[in-house]
């Protein structure tokens, strides 16, 4: 624990034992996690279409949950809980991109329209035709 009663700065540093340093690191990590989760939700509200919203959610949620789990690993007692938390983190990292991909593909197959001003470009036949930069603007 960080004790409040120290007067000078030097005393404060002396009182910061390993537990205190660990808690501070955990707090920093978890604050980062909350920041990225907030960014994900803000992106969900602000961005124009399904695909762009999934950019915000798919990336920021993975990072946010990962950081919060890392922070919890530092302060939780016992190996069992640490193993369970790490397992949850691994599952999140694996599942999140897959779910993002499934939602995007479903939206694409259903023909959900892109946001205004989007481009659609194909570079698949790049070698044969030489010029890859042929595509139409807008949708």
């Amino acid at each position: 624990m960080i004790r409040r009663r120290c007067g000078f700065r030097q005393d404060c540093l002396a009182e910061l034992d390993m537990e205190g340093i660990r808690e501070i690191i955990a707090i920093i990590l978890m604050s980062g996690g909350f920041f990225f989760l907030t960014v994900g939700v803000v992106g969900l509200i602000r961005l124009p279409d399904v695909y762009n919203r999934l950019h915000a959610l798919g990336k920021c949620d993975t990072m946010g949950v990962g950081l919060i789990i890392l922070g919890l690993v530092l302060i939780v007692p016992g190996t069992t809980n640490v193993v369970k938390l790490l397992l949850m983190g691994a599952l999140t990292v694996v599942i999140n991109p897959v779910i993002t991909h499934i939602i995007t593909k479903t939206a694409y197959v259903r023909g959900t329209s892109l946001a205004e001003g989007s481009f659609v470009v194909s570079t698949y036949y790049e070698e044969e035709e030489g010029d890859f930069f042929k595509g139409e603007e807008g949708e």
Binding site: F36, G43, D49, N52, M63, V83, P97, T104, F132
Partner: protein, 175 residues
């Protein structure tokens, strides 16, 4: 009924190293989850883990297509994951910047690419890597045709010459 059980036992016999590895993995997982090392937990593990190993053999062991990993490939995979973590960190800050800036500098769009990955595992890894890294999402991967949605034009075209793809190609070919 008798024939079925003999099939399972034959599979275990045919792939003894795989069964032993699965046994030890499950045992270590069980001991870590239970968190105690007294005789009751050990006994429970020694009863249940072999049963699970039998079922896993029925699911997993495939005699024809076995994944072989060389030492060279292991080093490449580790390198791949180090770069991937770096890219994920960059991706999050880019998305945070785009979302929080007042003007929202996006120019979204779809791009079709050609990829030459053959193994299922590397295809899944590469698709997920694209989803996790800056400004791009895998929409579809059908055959060698990869459909990517990019948040900005710059990021979408960045997938065309991406260094993680080269590492992934090396992993597939390397022996």
């Amino acid at each position: 009924m008798k024939g079925r059980s003999s099939i399972i036992i034959n599979r275990v016999k045919r792939d003894i190293p795989g069964s032993i590895i699965i046994f030890f993995l499950l045992m270590a997982f069980w001991l870590l989850i239970s968190g105690e090392f007294d005789w009751q937990h050990l006994l429970m593990g020694f009863i249940l883990v072999p049963l699970l190993t039998l079922f896993w053999n029925q699911l997993m062991v495939n005699e024809t297509k076995k994944t072989r990993i060389t030492w060279h490939q292991t080093r490449l995979v580790i390198r791949y994951f180090v770069f991937l973590i770096k890219e994920i960190l960059i991706a999050n800050f880019i998305v945070a910047y785009i979302v929080l800036s007042p003007k929202m500098p996006i120019s979204p769009g779809l791009i079709v690419l050609k990829v030459d990955l053959e193994k299922d595992l590397s295809r899944v890894l590469y698709g997920n890597s694209i989803t996790m890294t800056p400004g791009t999402i895998t929409v579809d991967l059908d055959g060698d045709r990869l459909l990517v949605h990019g948040m900005t034009r710059h990021h979408a075209f960045g997938v065309r010459s991406w260094y993680l793809y080269d590492i992934m190609k090396d992993i597939e070919e390397g022996d």
